[in-house]
Structures are given as C-alpha cells and as structure tokens.
C-alpha cells in the first residue's frame, strides 16, 4: 500500500529592524527547498523588501539552491519572505536491522588507493571535520556504547539518537550558533542544531558519513501526545549514509527521537550549519540587529487555511 504525498504551504519570514540605517548589505539565502526523490516543489518564491540592488541565483557546491542579494542604498529594515508549496512522499527506510554492520560501512568509506563507487565518494564529503563539527575522541567515547561490534549501522544510529534525546534537554537559552559541540556535550543542553551537530560529530568520529539537514517540521499537538519541539522555526536534523541502493541516506531527528517522514520538509543539506545557514549576511552600519523569524508550516489538505497565509500565497500568484 502506498501512502499519498502530504502537501504543505510554508511561509518563512525574516525581518530585521535595524537600530540605525544600513548603508551596505549583502546577504546569502538558503531559503529555497531542494527537489528530492520524495519531495516535489510545486511553487516557491522569495520576496525581498527593499528591492535588492543586485541578485544572483544558483546552486551551491552541495546542489542546494542559493540566492545572493546586495543592497547598495541605505535602508532601515529588511524583510525576506519565502513562500512555498511542497509535496512530501513517505520515505521511511526499510527494516533498520537489515542494514550492514557499522564497521563494514566505516571500512568501506576508508581510502584504499582504488577508485571508489561514485555514491561512496560523494558520501566522503560528509566524513570529516567541518567548521561546526570538530571531531574529538570524547565524541567517539560518548557514542561507543551505541556501536557494539557487528551491530547493524542503522540500529546503532537509532540508539545514538535515542541516547541524545534522553540525555539532553531542549533549551534555547543554553547555546548560540557558535557554541562548540564539546560544550554541548558537557552541558547536555541545546537546540535542534546543537543536537544535530553533536550527533554528526559522533558519527564522523566513528568514521561514518553524516550530513546536516535544514528544513521545517509540522507541529501540532495530537491528542494524548506532547507537542513536538521545533514548532514555528526552522528545524535541523541528521542524515547518515548507508552504502548500497537499498538505503542510501537515512534521516534521523535527534531533537524528537524519530525518523523523519512526511512531517519533515527538507530545505538544504551540507556538512553542517555553516554550509546552509538560511540567511547569512554582512552589513555596514545598522546598530543592533536581531532578526525576527516566523515560520508557518501548514498542511493543505487537513486544515482550513489561515487568511493571512492565503493572502500571502494569492498575492504571489497575482504577481507571478
């Protein structure tokens, strides 16, 4: 039986109200979703106020859509509104226990002076240190009990995800975007990026390929279950590589202790947050500049659409 795709509207607004005028600004946007085997992008656009003086669209080195904009005239505020309509098909992996033993995967990814399989070579981009993922032996030590000899890789990863979920506390006050993974490990607190970085660091410390996924999560409080964490914000999780066509890259969400399926919408992936920060910029002037970010993930077939969201989408079509 095949489950149908779930369709969403997503509205992601970022607003800067600068304390004083910004005379020059350049921004890099990773706000457009990538197309995946299980994810179709039906509509997508990014509105920017003020109108940029210059703009370039392209793909980054990992194949993610990226947009650069520049503002050459003084401005007091910046509004970036990304609206998209996405369809996500179910894509849970097969039985985790059929995955190969974790050491076999590790050894297969190690260099042996022969030409590697293209998919394996591609995976090695996510095998090493990256700016937010320093690899230290503490991380391998932390993950060690989840990776006993001979255990299937995906069961190990699931155990590691559960361990992080159980031992760490979600706490937006505890960290910033630059908090090192080892600090997170020591303090056992953080947000989805921290847990994703930590889990990636553990996996890479063991010689496994893991990448950072940014996107959105549908949040609603179902009866009898706690509300999922990460509502109305961008979200981040982890993808781990299993060689062979059966599994490929398999997603894990350590913040919620589950395997992402139709309630996770993927924007981009990279080695870590630094490759795909949704909005990263350099400004001249501006005084204090803390952004206000609002994310709405709306399941089209399930609920009545809020008027505001409808208006945003309709206005785009008119402009289209």
């Amino acid at each position: 039986m095949t489950m149908p795709a779930v369709r969403y509207h997503v509205l992601h607004e970022t607003r800067y109200d600068y304390g004083s005028p910004v005379s020059l600004s350049q921004q890099q946007l990773h706000l457009s979703p990538r197309i995946l085997a299980w994810q179709q992008v039906e509509e997508q656009c990014v509105d920017i106020e003020p109108t940029p003086s210059w703009r370039r669209d392209g793909l980054d080195a990992f194949g993610n859509p990226v947009t650069w904009v520049a503002f050459h005239a003084p401005h007091d505020s910046l509004l970036i509104r990304s609206v998209m309509t996405i369809a996500v098909e179910p894509h849970l992996p097969g039985d985790l226990k059929n995955s190969p033993p974790w050491e076999a995967v590790r050894d297969r990814l190690a260099y042996d002076a022969t030409d590697p399989q293209p998919a394996d070579l591609d995976a090695t981009r996510f095998l090493f240190e990256s700016p937010h993922v320093r690899i230290k032996h503490e991380l391998a030590d932390y993950a060690a009990d989840c990776f006993p000899p001979g255990k299937p890789l995906l069961l190990c990863v699931q155990a590691l995800m559960a361990k992080i979920f159980t031992e760490f506390t979600f706490d937006p006050e505890a960290t910033t975007v630059s908090t090192p993974v080892l600090d997170v490990l020591e303090n056992k607190r953080g947000v989805c990026q921290d847990f994703a970085h930590l889990m990636i660091a553990c996996l890479r410390a063991l010689g496994l390929a893991a990448r950072y996924v940014s996107g959105y999560l549908l949040t609603r409080p179902p009866p009898g279950k706690p509300r999922l964490i990460g509502a109305d914000a961008s979200h981040a999780w982890v993808s781990v590589y299993v060689p062979g066509s059966e599994y490929g890259w398999v997603d894990f969400d350590p913040t919620n202790n589950l395997l992402p399926d139709t309630e996770h919408i993927t924007l981009s992936f990279g080695r870590d947050f630094s490759d795909i920060s949704p909005l990263r910029g350099i400004i001249l002037g501006g005084g204090g500049a803390e952004p206000e970010v609002a994310v709405t993930v709306f399941p089209i077939e399930e609920e009545d659409m809020p008027r505001e969201l409808l208006a945003a989408i309709e206005s785009r079509k008119g402009a289209g």
Partner: protein, 844 residues
C-alpha cells in the same frame, strides 16, 4: 694568501661534516669549482674591511626598516631581518635542473587545483584520498566550480628545497597560499650585491628583476579588462600586524601596485572596486597576501573583519583575478607529497622531476604501520596546513609522551604525516663573533615561480635560510634563523633590467594618483598632522625646559607661564595635586619628553607618527623612512637610560632637526598629487591650531606678563631671528603680536598659515569638486579686521588683563575652532572611517 700579513686561509678552520653535503667544499676538502673565485676574494678581504661591510649590511637593514614581525614578541615589536653576507652560490647546470623541476611542480599543482575545484577526477580515480581534500579546512567548498581567468589558480608558488647528503635537491614543503619571502630575497640581493660588487659582476650572477617583471606581465595578461580599461592591480595585505608586512609594503612599492587592506575594497554586484578619493575604481587583479579563508566574510569565515564581503561572487563572474585563487592553500599539505608522482603522470603525462622528502600519510593503514615501526627515524607533522602543531622528532620523545602522540595519531590518523628526517646541507656563513672565520650552517632554499603567458617562470635564486646553530633542523625566520642571498651563476649574458628607479629621491609618492585609496589619504593627512604636532610639542618642551634651566630650579614667572602654556596645549598633563613631589618641573618635563604612554607627550606623538607612517610606508621614500627610523631609535635608546636635562635638550634639538628634514622630504620629494595635498593640509591645519591656541592662551595669562615671556614666545613660534632683524630692541607686545599674528611674510605667523591653508583648500576644492566650509574664511576675515591700534600704548604689565587682548584671544580661539571643524569635515567627506567595520548577521 701569499701576503704575510694575512693569517692562514679561512679553509683551515672551516668544519667538515661527514653527514652533510657542504655547499662550498667537496668531500675531499677542496673548494668546489663554482665557489673558488668567491672564496679567494673572501679569503683576501682584511678583517677591518669585512667589519665595515657587515656594518653596511646592518645599517641598510635598519635604515630600510627591513623587519620581520614576531608574533610571540611581547610588544609585537618588529625584529630586524637577519642577513648573512656570504651568498649561497649555485652553478648554471645545476640551477637549470632545479628551475625546470620547480616550474613543473608549479604546473602540476595548478592542474591539481583545477581538478579539485572542478571535476575531481583525482578523487574518482583513487589517486588522492578524499581526506586530503574534503578533510582539509583549507578546501573551500564555496569556491568549488569557480573557474578563474586563464584557468590559473596558482599565480605565485614557493617551494622549500633542501639538499641531501648525496647532493640531490629534494622538496621539503610547497607554499601555495600566499607565498612570502620573494621581497626579502630582493632586498637581500640589493644589499649583498653592494657588499661584493666586483664579485657580483665578475661571477655573472643572474639578476632577479626579470622575475618580478614576469610576475607583473603574468598578472597583467590575465586581468579581465573590458574595452580600453587599464589593468588595475592591487596588493591586498592583512595590515601592519602581519609578520611579513615589511615585504607587502616593499613589493607594493617595487611593483608599483597600491597596497590595500580589505576595507579599502568594496564589491558592487559583480565587480570589486577600490575606494579612492575620487570615487570607486574597478580592480581587475588582487595580488593577495591575506589567507584565503579571511577574504570574504559573506561566504568564508564570517568572524573576520579583514575581508571583502561579496568577493567570491566577483570571482564567480570571472571579473577579478585573485592571485592565488581562493582555496589554493589546500596544496600546502605535506601529506600530498607521496601522491604526487602518480598524479604528475596522470595530469601532465610526465615524470615528476624532483623528489619530495619521503613522506608517509598516516591515513593509509600500511603507512601508519610503517610510522609506528620506524618512529625514531621520522618527524611527525600535521597533515593539514591549518592545523597548528609543532613538528615532533620521533627520537626525542620517549615514554608517556610518545604513547600520547601515538594515541593521537591512532585516533585521527588522516590528520598526521611522517617525514624522513632531513640532513640539510651546510653552507659557509660569516661569523660575527670571531675576527675572521667561516662557520658551517645548515641551509635550505626557498625558490619561487610565477605564472606567465608562456608557463611558469622561476626566480634565478631565492631566499636561502640558515640555522642559528650547527645542528638546527628547522629553518624558520620565526625561530630566529638568518637568511642569505642566492647567487645563480650563468654562462650566458646577464640581463641588467631593473625595476628600481635609478634615483631614490623623486620616486616618492604615487604612480597613479587617481587610484589613491581613501585610507591612504586619511593616513597621509594624519601623517601631516602628527609630523607638525611632534614638532610643536618638541618646541614647547624646549622652551619650558630652557626656562627651567635658566631659573636654576626656581619658580620664576617665566617658568610658571611656560609650564602653564604647555599644560594648556596638552603637552604637559594637568598638575597632580595629590603628589606635589612628582610635580617638580624637571620630572614632569622629562616624562613629557620620553614617556610614550603619557597622553600628549613627545614620545607618544612620535609613536603616533610612526604608526601612521607605517600605514603609508609604500608611499614614502627610503630617505624619508630612514629619518623616521632614526627618530624612533633615538627615543628608544633614551628610554633605556635616565637622561639628564642637558641630554634632554640635546634630544629635543635633534628631534627638531629631524622634523625639518621631514618637512624637506614632504616639500621637495613628494609628487604633488591629492595625497600630498592632504598631507600638507594636515600639517597646516595642525600648525594653525597650535599657533592660534597658544597665542590666545598667552594673551590671557596673568603669569605671562613679564618681558622675558615675549622672548620665549618668539622662541616657541620660531620667530626670534625675524624679530631681532626687524626691531633692534627687546620684545614689546605690539610688534610681537604683529609679527606672530598679522605679518603675511612670517611663515610662523597665524595669518600666513591661514593664507597657505586656504590656497591649498581652494585648489583641492576645484579638483575634487567640493565646497569647503566658509567658517574658516570668516574667522580669518574677522581676525584680519582686528584693529592693532587697540594694543598701542597699553602699559605692558597690565596688557594681558586688558580688553583688547581678550578680544584678540577670542578671535584666535574662533579660528582654532573653525580649523577643528574643517578637519572633522574632511574626515566625514573623504576618509574611509577606519573604525566603521562590517559585521555579520545570521538568521535561522
């Protein structure tokens, strides 16, 4: 020597080594043929003569300010460059091989960069481990897919070579980020060729100037110009704190490129510009001495203010040459060496000509096993250039220390590389500790290659570096080693091309005045202000010190008045009432002269002057720079002892002498461009302010109402000679004021200064299309309208409390205020605002 007065030959006590190759002496103890002529010359030089030559070397280095900043030095002080006068000599046939191998290696590394930032076939074919590419922080992902103009990634390449005991040259390390040292090699050449001019000529040493011309031509050929644009090439430096800043300024001046910092450049869309006084000027080529990860905070490291936001997008559009391309630092990894022979065959279809030192990358299992087994014979180094780790010599670490290192390697084997221990060759160096002796010191050679339209061109020579002790294993200027010139001999004719202008004096300022960056202009303006300010403070201090000496310790009215005025103009600090003992005039004055940390002090002004001069160093002539250097050395020397009053006065006299020579350089030697005008306006503004401020104060000071006060006022304003030549009587108020304020022919008078300043401003206003503020003109007019008759017949002793004096003082203060406002206005309008830095923002 046959001459009986000469001692035995230098060879008699020159040490042999069984373990090392000796550059000068063959295994049987004879001088090698290509050294014979030079050695005979050296052997014949009398000790006195040699001492003079060494002194010449040291003087040139000090005066040219050849330095190497040492990060570890407590105050970040510059250290004089160490140069041994005996060159490293290499015969033509041998050099032909070295040169071909270096050019081949540069071409190979360029082809590797093209592959690794493009199709990555080397990885797909297993010729390189992914760890050495993806695992390096030096692999800049945002640069993947960027194709630089002409398909050149590696524009400048340096390679460290060493000679093994059998005489074969080996590659020790590749420098692909922003190779340093070529400028030092050039400076070494300029000095050493003058130490041994006959030898330099007779031995037919290949000149290095052609290499720099090739470099210029190579960059010019690649510049992505449109239409009839002239290629605009700049040299990007991280700034004066960098260890090789001397070289950046030196090369910029030698190559004729503006020296810029990140904040001088700005990106608009697809184009990068230099911010100049006359607006934005497109830049086609950036010769980069800044590490690549700091070059664009938008896409690379965001925590640095050094870079140029948006630069990567200009590179993507192919509208700028960045030399070397961003991301090239990757190939500095020693771990790559073992893979190069196969890669060379694959990419160039040739055999690698020069071997690398034997290298084991621990990321390969068999290599790791080898390293563990042969640990004592190996040196362990980081596999990635961005990883900071001192080399570990296997045989030196034992017990727990060794176990710990092995554990670290086992945990992350791909991050380590082991190299065979290299026995460097040895070369003769002149001993400074002995009367007449050659020492044998380990030596290595850094060779350089640059891209040209016809392939890579190799500098004939390079920077030879020698260790400080006989058994040094690591050659590093950071660690206190010395350097040598390298003489490559030729059988053919010697090219006598030179980029250096034959005369030093007039090549002072700017090659392309229109491309003056705003930052340079700002620094020249402040250079002008500080040169004048230190002259003013020296004069003020000399006057005060003179009164103190004359009074013999007593508090005469002249002492009190001079000290009060010095306090008013900020040369002396406000009196410390809690500590009256410290307030003894002598102590206060000496502090104000020598203590650089005291606000307003002469020493502090000299420091500010040096600081601004350092920032525009490439704009100043060598002579200009020599004077500044002498000034600072004098002051530092004085700091070490406790100067007496007499010494202090002598120092002030010397300072004022230097000051007038600086004025002379500015007036006689600098090109009359916008930068020069800002410098002169800075000077005039400063002097006008000082004159107006001190005269206004003088006129309203009760304590100044003694006849001798007018004497020292004339002295302070440098007008005593003029006064005496006009009035053969002791100074009186009316003629003194006339001379110091109103006389248009006295260059030390207020209205004279105001007039000159106005003329420069008008000229600049016309050229830059600016309307200068009218406040200054109005203040001048009001002052000019003052009726001098009001000062006539004032009883001298009460003159200073009188209404006319207060009125005149008020007009002078208005003038000073207007000058201050003008300075602020210039800053707002024309300067970069060095304090205004970009910063990163981030939203989730």
């Amino acid at each position: 020597m046959t001459d009986g007065s000469m001692a035995r030959t230098l060879l008699a006590i020159y040490p042999h080594s069984a373990r090392r190759y000796d550059e000068m002496m063959s295994a049987d103890g004879a001088v090698r043929p290509h050294w014979q002529q030079f050695f005979s010359h050296l052997d014949a030089v009398a000790p006195d003569e040699m001492r003079q030559r060494l002194a010449f070397v040291d003087r040139r280095i000090l005066e040219n300010g050849v330095t190497y900043n040492v990060y570890a030095a407590p105050d970040g002080a510059d250290r004089p460059w160490a140069l041994d006068p005996v060159p490293l000599i290499i015969p033509p046939e041998e050099w032909a091989e070295v040169s071909a191998a270096v050019a081949q290696r540069a071409a190979l590394l360029n082809a590797m960069l093209a592959d690794l930032y493009g199709p990555q076939t080397l990885l797909a074919e297993g010729l390189l481990p992914p760890a050495l590419v993806y695992g390096q922080h030096g692999y800049l992902w945002p640069c993947h897919g960027i194709k630089p103009p002409g398909d050149i990634w590696l524009h400048s390449y340096a390679v460290d070579l060493a000679r093994s005991p059998n005489g074969q040259w080996w590659v020790i390390a590749d420098r692909t980020q922003a190779p340093s040292g070529a400028g030092y090699a050039l400076e070494n050449r300029l000095i050493v060729s003058r130490v041994f001019p006959e030898m330099f000529r007779d031995l037919r040493v290949q000149h290095v100037a052609d290499f720099f011309r090739a470099k210029q031509e190579g960059l010019t050929a690649l510049a992505p110009v449109e239409g009839d644009e002239q290629p605009h090439i700049v040299l990007l430096t991280p700034g004066p704190y960098n260890e090789t800043y001397f070289e950046h300024a030196y090369l910029a001046r030698y190559l004729g490129y503006p020296l810029v910092e990140g904040q001088d450049l700005t990106v608009r869309g697809d184009t990068v510009y230099l911010k100049t006084l006359r607006g934005l000027k497109r830049v086609h080529v950036i010769l980069r001495r800044q590490d690549d990860s700091y070059c664009d905070p938008l896409e690379l490291r965001g925590d640095s203010a050094l870079g140029v936001p948006g630069l990567l997008n200009v590179a993507r559009a192919g509208r700028v040459v960045i030399a070397n391309a961003l991301g090239s630092g990757l190939l500095g990894s020693g771990a790559l060496m073992g893979f190069l022979p196969a890669i060379c065959e694959r990419l160039l279809g040739e055999k690698l000509m020069m071997p690398s030192v034997a290298t084991w990358w621990c990321g390969e299992k068999p290599a790791l096993e080898y390293v563990k087994k042969h640990f004592d014979e190996l040196v362990i180094k980081p596999a990635y250039p961005t990883q900071h780790m001192e080399p570990v010599f296997g045989h030196e670490v034992k017990g727990e220390e060794r176990a710990e290192i092995l554990r670290r390697i086992e945990a992350r084997p791909h991050a380590y590389v082991a190299q065979e221990m290299v026995h460097l060759s040895q070369a003769p160096t002149w001993s400074r500790a002995h009367e007449r002796r050659l020492l044998a010191r380990p030596v290595g050679l850094r060779a350089y290659a640059v891209t040209t339209p016809d392939g890579y061109s190799v500098m004939p020579g390079g920077l030879a570096r020698v260790g400080t002790a006989g058994d040094t294993r690591i050659l590093s200027m950071q660690r206190g080693g010395a350097s040598k010139d390298t003489w490559v001999l030729t059988n053919g004719p010697v090219s006598d091309f030179s980029l250096l202008k034959p005369s030093v004096g007039v090549r002072d300022l700017v090659r392309a005045g229109a491309n003056l960056s705003s930052r340079v202009v700002e620094n020249l303006f402040w250079l002008g202000r500080y040169s004048e300010r230190f002259d003013d403070s020296a004069r003020m201090l000399r006057v005060a010190l003179g009164r103190v000496v004359v009074a013999g310790g007593g508090k005469t009215p002249a002492v009190i008045a001079a000290m009060a005025l010095a306090r008013h103009v900020g040369v002396l600090p406000e009196p410390d009432e809690d500590d009256p003992v410290k307030e003894g005039s002598e102590h206060v004055l000496l502090e104000a002269i020598y203590n650089p940390d005291q606000p307003g002090s002469l020493a502090g002004n000299i420091r500010s002057l040096m600081w601004t001069a350092t920032h525009v160093r490439e704009r100043l002539s060598l002579d200009h720079w020599h004077s500044l250097n002498r000034l600072q050395r004098d002051q530092q020397a004085a700091l070490k002892k406790h100067p007496t009053l007499t010494e202090a006065i002598a120092f002030l006299d010397r300072v004022l002498g230097v000051s007038s020579s600086l004025t002379g350089f500015a007036m006689d030697n600098m090109t009359r461009d916008d930068g020069w005008r800002f410098l002169i306006i800075g000077r005039r503004l400063e002097r006008l302010s000082f004159l107006a401020q001190s005269l206004a104060q003088f006129l309203t000071m009760e304590s100044a109402s003694g006849p001798e006060s007018l004497d020292w006022l004339l002295d302070l304003m440098d007008s005593i000679i003029t006064y005496r030549s006009r009035y053969s009587r002791s100074p009186e108020l009316l003629p003194v004021i006339d001379l110091l304020v109103f006389d248009d022919s006295n260059p030390h008078g207020v209205l004279f200064q105001a007039g000159v300043l106005t003329r420069y401003l008008e000229r600049m206003g016309r050229e830059l299309g600016a309307d200068f503020d009218g406040e200054l003109a109005e203040a001048i007019e009001r002052l000019r309208a003052f009726d001098l008759g009001k000062l006539e017949h004032l009883p001298y002793s009460r003159g200073f409390a009188s209404a006319p004096c207060s009125e005149l003082a008020g007009l002078l203060r208005d003038l000073q205020t207007a000058a201050g406002q003008l300075s602020d206005w210039l800053g707002m309008r024309y300067f970069t605002h060095v304090g205004d830095v970009s910063r990163q923002t981030m939203a989730l």
